[in-house]
């Protein structure tokens, strides 16, 4: 009996991880398709990111002669740490493979960033340095908003694990509750900033000088690039799960056979929302990003104030 339960737990954990790995590229595909649709273009198929990944996994790489072991380690660290983060994120239920305190969760996000930005500097390319420098600056300035919005969520959910706090958000009548709207809005702003989306960064831009994330990974190819792109997808899925979980916490307490499709629908819907947001905005000047992130911080602070005043 005990072994049976252990087996079930293991299967669920494996399914959780597999779903995140599968949803990541799908989410990227949905975002792109929505953007294309809204700008009256045909766009690539929704499943194109999977094909891209397959292609990249089959390719060899050209490794810069300047690079050190830090460069070799970067892609596995970026993807590995993102998967560990995914293991703590509630997707279809409040039971996750690896429950994590929200502070630990936020700080663990720094591990892939640290190695990714170091790899950008490791090839001795000016583009890599440029991207890395912007990446760490944006993330540093997003930090207060992230902490405050997670604090707000943790108050709402009455728990200090990431899964517990999202699942614990009291269900129902979200629109009547200003702090939930404010927190979800802040998290959405942060989602755009932390995942290199418009208006902070443009993943589809053609000029290296204006890039943030893409400039940093210019010298990655083949397997390394595949891992990094997969990691970006997983990160986007993590943030989408957090935002959609906050807005529809009910879906997390459904029975499993309903909850999994509900989770997929939620993530796809947030992909459409991201795509719509991107299609409707232009990319900001880099020097304006600080104000954008300050807005997010202020929103989170207002949410906390509303919570404690009410």
């Amino acid at each position: 009996m005990d072994r049976y339960i252990k087996g079930i737990v293991f299967m669920m954990a494996a399914a959780h991880m597999a779903l995140f790995v599968l949803l990541g590229p799908l989410l990227v595909g949905v975002v792109r398709k929505t953007k294309a649709f809204l700008s009256c273009r045909q766009g690539a198929p929704v499943f194109q990111p999977y094909l891209d990944l397959r292609k990249l996994f089959r390719r060899g790489i050209v490794r810069s002669t300047t690079a050190s072991w830090v460069f070799d380690l970067s892609a596995p660290v970026v993807l590995g740490a993102s998967l560990v983060l995914a293991a703590a994120t509630p997707l279809w239920s409040r039971d996750v493979p690896l429950p994590m305190h929200f502070i630990l969760f936020l700080y663990l996000m720094a591990l892939p960033r640290f190695f990714q930005t170091l790899a950008g500097l490791d090839t001795g390319s000016a583009f890599g340095g440029l991207g890395s420098s912007r990446e760490v600056a944006v993330s540093a300035m997003a930090e207060p908003a992230l902490i405050l919005s997670f604090c707000g969520l943790a108050y709402l959910g009455g728990a200090d694990t990431v899964s517990g706090m999202v699942a614990g958000v009291p269900p129902g009548r979200v629109l009547w509750r200003p702090e939930v709207i404010l927190l979800a809005g802040t998290l959405f702003l942060l989602l755009l900033a932390e995942n290199a989306r418009i208006p902070v960064d443009d993943p589809a831009t053609h000029l290296e000088l204006t890039m943030i994330h893409e400039a940093m990974v210019l010298d990655h190819a083949g397997v390394d690039l595949a891992m990094i792109q997969l990691a970006s997808g997983v990160r986007l899925a993590i943030f989408s799960a957090l935002v959609s979980g906050t807005v529809f916490p009910e879906a997390l307490s459904l029975p499993t056979f309903l909850a999994i499709p509900a989770a997929v629908v939620k993530v796809v819907l947030s992909g459409a929302l991201i795509g719509a947001a991107e299609a409707g905005m232009a990319r900001m000047k880099i020097s304006r990003i600080a104000s954008y992130l300050l807005i997010a911080t202020v929103l989170a602070a207002i949410a906390l104030a509303v919570r404690h005043a009410g």
């Binding site: 996994f57 089959r58 390719r59 060899g60 790489i61 050209v62 490794r63 810069s64 002669t65 300047t66 050190s68 892609a75 596995p76 993807l79 590995g80 740490a81 998967l83 560990v84 703590a88 690896l98 994590m100 305190h101 502070i103 630990l104 700080y107 663990l108 720094a110 591990l111 960033r113 640290f114 930005t117 170091l118 500097l121 490791d122 090839t123 001795g124 390319s125 000016a126 583009f127 340095g129 890395s132 420098s133 760490v136 600056a137 993330s139 540093a140 300035m141 997003a142 930090e143 207060p144 902490i147 405050l148 604090c151 517990g164 210019l218 010298d219 397997v223 020097s287 600080a290 404690h308």
Partner: protein, 654 residues
């Protein structure tokens, strides 16, 4: 038996130092002096750990220096914690110094260094175990003087002499503050011993405020808290690297020790606003320190500013603990104080490591300017790995010790923010801590990226090699401690929770957080190792070619085209230019209408130094010039002064 121990330890520290003065061969002198000091520190560490496990507090009476007050060593849990810190870092730094101080062999410039370093370690051990005001001040002064002479060891350099002078003035202003703070307590309680201070209640709250104010000035100067920090970015870079490591790793913690001793042991029931002030100062120090660190080019100066940042983080923990204690949240207070002390230890471990790494870089490449370094990971792989581990730890990346200690502070703040009252300041502290953490990542990605990765930016950088074993061993050991304490934080946190248990004797500890560091570390290792394996297999199948870095299609990329450290810091500089105040000078050389050369120089002047200290300094200099007229050098005038004074005395006091 224990009453003889202090003398044995003192002899073990001082004898090798004195012996080193007598040995002619500089290599042997180093080995005896620093090696002996290291052995003494190791002995001290063992005795402290064994002793602290058996029983604290320990009281050892000392012969009284003055007839009207008794002297004693009083070692409780807090003292034992700091003693262990001093001895642990002291041991590793002594080993490191055996290799590093070779640079001072020429003309035997480093002759007195072993004696001074051993004296510094011994006096710090004395400071944290002193049980009365007089022995404390005696140890404090010995520590200040020993460290001053170590800072000016390179006294042929003008910068070192200047840094020494600034440090000497700052530290004595600090000692003055501490003396005044103690005198307030002595006057009200009529006792010289710490236990005496603690037992006699002070009725007048203004005495408590005055004593705290002066203690903050005194200990804050030593700890490098904003705005008393200005000596730190001068003294730490100029001192030889092992000395910077001790000063930054341990000596500034003596200020922290003083603040904790004063606030939680000596002052009865300090009001809540003390905690708020400390918390605010901690936030300002943290933010200020990391911002100035980001824009530095000098590796050791950068690390010095980052020490200001980390002392700020420690202070956030201690200040919030005091605040929570005064507002009836004892459980959170206990965790916060333990977290603050834990961060003091974490900082001691990784900052010592980073200063040692900086020393190894200077040893190998003979420059502290990070814009001239680059690609050192190739020539100095061991130093590079150790430095990277230290950088991950100082940037509070899990699973390293810097995160473990900041996490304890966060959990304390979070637990405290659940009950009403001063919630705003607690949440602001969390947001501030997060910003500081994010900026620390910027700072140390910049350092590791420009110093150890990419291409060498100068010939000396490409020639740099890993140093000798004596310098490697302490760095690798500290890197392992960074990781070990991050994976098993309870090794430090549990003893600290029992040291701070006096804050909430009956209360339950704040529950352990979900996601054990060990589990997370294992998950990370499995994921990263698995993916690396997958990568290796796929590369074997798909092929791996070496090629030049992509240069936009241009084939002749040079190391100078790499991103520089200044460019890396630019986005942050741009956002915070209101605080950082960059000062740029630009020189152009023209030939007719053609621009031949441009020279641009950007400096960052410390706003406090320029805005607060320099005006005061100028005032003093002016006053001194006026006062100089009084002594023009004529003996008969001086005799006249004496006569005048005697007459005045007779008139007034007859």
């Amino acid at each position: 038996m224990p009453s003889a121990l202090p003398y044995v330890l003192a002899a073990a520290f001082l004898a090798p130092g004195i012996l080193a003065l007598l040995i002619r061969d500089p290599r042997r002198s180093r080995l005896v002096g620093f090696g002996g000091g290291g052995a003494a520190a190791f002995l001290g560490l063992v005795v402290t750990l064994v002793g602290a496990m058996r029983e604290v507090p320990v009281r050892i009476p000392l012969p009284a220096p003055v007839p009207w007050a008794a002297s004693e060593l009083y070692i409780d849990g807090l003292s034992a914690f700091f003693l262990a810190l001093v001895f642990f870092v002291g041991f590793l730094v002594s080993v490191y110094a055996v290799g590093y101080m070779k640079e001072f062999d020429e003309h035997r410039r480093g002759l007195a260094a072993p004696l001074l370093l051993n004296l510094l370690l011994l006096s710090m051990a004395f400071v944290v175990s002193a049980g009365d005001m007089l022995s404390f001040l005696l140890g404090w002064e010995a520590m200040s003087l020993a460290s001053y002479f170590l800072v000016v060891l390179d006294h042929e350099k003008r910068e070192a002499r200047q840094a020494g002078l600034i440090y000497l003035i700052a530290t004595h202003i600090g000692t003055g503050g501490i003396l005044l703070a103690f005198l307030f307590l002595v006057r009200t309680t009529g006792s010289f011993s710490f236990n005496g201070f603690a037992t006699v209640p002070i009725a007048d709250p203004s005495i408590v405020v005055a004593a705290f104010g002066f203690a903050l000035l005194g200990f804050g100067t030593k700890a490098g808290i904003f705005p008393f920090h200005i000596w730190l970015p001068y003294a730490h870079p100029e001192a030889p690297s092992p000395v910077s490591a001790v000063m930054s790793g341990v000596m500034i913690k003596m200020g922290i020790y003083g603040i904790v001793r004063f606030l939680f042991y000596l002052l009865p029931a300090p009001p809540a606003f003390f905690g708020s002030i400390l918390l605010a100062l901690g936030l300002i120090s943290g933010l200020f320190g990391v911002l100035y660190a980001i824009v530095q080019h000098d590796l050791k100066r950068l690390l010095a500013f980052s020490s200001i940042e980390n002392v700020g983080i420690v202070l956030i923990g201690i200040g919030a603990a005091s605040l929570c204690r005064a507002t009836g949240r004892p459980d959170a207070a206990r965790l916060l104080l333990a977290g603050g002390l834990f961060h003091a230890l974490s900082h001691a471990v990784f900052k010592t490591l980073l200063f040692m790494g900086a020393g190894a870089v200077i040893h190998g490449a003979h420059t502290r300017n990070i814009e001239k370094l680059g690609g050192l990971m190739r020539g100095m792989p061991l130093t590079g790995i150790a430095f990277l581990a230290g950088s991950l730890a100082i940037s509070a990346v899990p699973p390293f010790n810097g995160f473990a200690s900041e996490f304890a502070i966060y959990r304390g703040l979070w637990a405290a923010s659940w009950s009403a009252g001063s919630r705003g300041i607690l949440l602001a502290a969390m947001a501030g801590l997060a910003l500081i953490g994010g900026l620390a990542v910027v700072c140390f990605v910049k350092v590791v990226g420009t110093v150890f990765l990419g291409n060498a930016r100068s010939a000396q950088a490409s020639a740099a090699r890993d140093p000798s074993l004596a310098m490697e061993f302490p760095m690798v050991a500290l890197a392992l401690v960074c990781l070990g304490l991050g994976v098993f934080p309870s090794l430090v946190l549990d003893p600290l929770m029992s040291i701070t248990s006096f804050l909430s004797p009956a209360g339950a500890a704040v529950p352990a957080p979900a996601g054990k560091p060990f589990t997370v570390a294992i998950a990370l290792v499995i994921a990263i190792a698995g993916l690396s394996l997958l990568r290796a297999v796929l590369l074997r199948r798909n092929g791996l070619r070496a090629g030049g870095t992509w240069g936009c299609g241009f084939p002749y990329a040079t190391p100078r085209m790499q991103y520089t450290a200044s460019s890396f810091a630019d986005p942050i500089l741009h956002v915070f230019q209101g605080i950082l105040r960059p000062h740029t000078t630009r020189k152009e050389r023209l030939s007719g209408r053609f621009l031949l050369e441009v020279e641009q120089d950007t400096h960052f002047h410390d706003i406090i130094e320029n805005g607060l200290y320099l005006p005061v300094y100028r005032l003093f200099v002016q006053a001194a010039f006026q006062a100089r007229r009084l002594h023009p050098g004529y003996i008969h005038l001086y005799l006249g002064y004496i006569l005048g004074t005697v007459v005045l005395l007779l008139v007034f006091f007859h």
